[in-house]
């Protein structure tokens, strides 16, 4: 079998199986760690699509940033106060309806989209293209995203500072 195909099926299976574990694991920390393999598998799929920069960004942002924060939060809630957090089955009826609608939309998009398969091509540099586009054509969205992150950061600092001044006044 072709190596490319072999790698694709390996990482596709890794992504799907670990995603199942995320959903069905009763232990919330197990779910969080399984999420790492999902993110990792998605990054590998990006690599197979010749999107190296996006793949590394996926690793840096999701595995290095978001997942560490999720696990940090989860670890603070479980074990430390000897409370076992288990995920239960709640709100079965609304959940079923919404999942059915979502699945319907996804299947619809999947069947309508024209899946243009790009033939095998040489691995080309993507970084320069992305960089040039970001500071030329997409400068406004990039700046808006930057301002959004700044606002979120200032908000977090404000919240932390307010709590501190409250505890000092006691």
């Amino acid at each position: 079998m072709d190596l490319y195909v072999l790698f694709f099926y390996f990482f596709a299976l890794l992504t799907v199986i670990s995603a199942f574990v995320v959903v069905f694991a009763r232990n919330i920390v197990h779910a969080a760690f399984a999420l790492m393999f999902t993110f990792f598998g998605v990054a590998a799929l990006y690599v197979l699509l010749y999107a190296d920069f996006v793949a590394v960004t996926q690793l840096l942002v999701y595995v290095g940033g978001i997942l560490v924060l999720i696990i940090f939060g989860v670890m603070l809630t479980t074990r430390m106060f000897s409370v076992e957090m288990k995920t239960g089955t709640l709100n079965i009826l609304p959940a079923t309806i919404f999942t059915a609608i979502l699945a319907g939309i996804l299947i619809f998009v999947f069947s309508v989209t024209d899946w243009g398969v790009v033939p095998d091509q040489e691995f080309d540099t993507t970084v320069y293209g992305i960089g040039t586009l970001l500071v030329n054509e997409f400068i406004l969205p990039m700046q808006v995203a930057g301002v959004l992150l700044l606002v979120a950061m200032i908000g977090a600092v404000m919240m932390a500072a307010r709590e501190r001044s409250k505890s000092q006044s006691k």
Partner: protein
Amino acid sequence: MVETLEQFLPHPLLALFIHAALPMVIVFPYVLFAVWLERKVSAHMQDRLGPMRTGGWHGWSQTIADMIKMIQKEDIVPSRSDKFLFKFAPFLAFMGSYAAFAVIPFSSEYIGAHLDVGAFYILAVTSIVTLSILMAGWASNNKWSLLGAMRTSAQIVSYEIPTVVAVLSVIVATGTLNLMTISEMQSGTIFNWLIFHSPFLFIAFVLYFISSLAEVNRTPFDLPESESELVGGFHTEYSGMRWGMFMLTEYADMFLVSLLGSVLFFGGWNSPFGDFMSGPIWGVFWMISKGMFFIFVMMWLRWTLPRLRVDQLMDVCWKYLIPFAFVNLVLVALWEMIF
């Protein structure tokens, strides 16, 4: 390199596998040597001799004997721990560390993967080590382990910012993320190395070195495993070869940041004397020598400086290193615009 291997080997997959395993040939002997060196350096700094008996000359085979002993030890797993995560964490740790060696150009002819986003990839993939430390700390079901793991994640997430900005200064000066291209740009004599490129890149190197010490949990930033407070930190419950895997990861990580530092600032595989003693084989020699020099500096610092307190650790990062790193980045960019 892969193409050459494919000519001699029956299957392309085998060639890929051997190509991927080559850094291991350097990393394993290096770890055995570095653990011995750490003992010797610490001993001599404290006016002792250190290991002297095993193997004859200055106890050179002490770590080999230790490794064989560790493999023979009983595999102890605490009964109230999370068995699967506890057993899996050491392997994940080394996986994260070894994955980063893929983009280190060991010589002008050898690089694991010729990625155009090499520098960026290293910063991203080492975060798996953080996750494995969190995993180990949580799965051990031990207060000290959990506290150690918490400290690690807080520390590494914070110190990642000055590291990234310092690396970014080099990227601004060179205009590429490809570590092989960065090495090639510094060929020639010692004055072509990026550390001498501009005064601000020298400051960037100092920032990089300080924050990389924190990234690999070395003194004065070894709070995640500070023995006097947390017994052994995140690996308190580990013993035998599983503990050995964490040790292997720690030393491999030190080597990794040293090699990255020498690629970014000290010419990578280039000889300091221009054409004298240069070539693919000498490249490996220079690369490892430069890496070992920084390893020695790390050991030197370990036995010289006291450990920081947790709040001081955060102060150093957020109040000093990060503002300095950002101002320095702007200055590097200005220097590149003017000259």
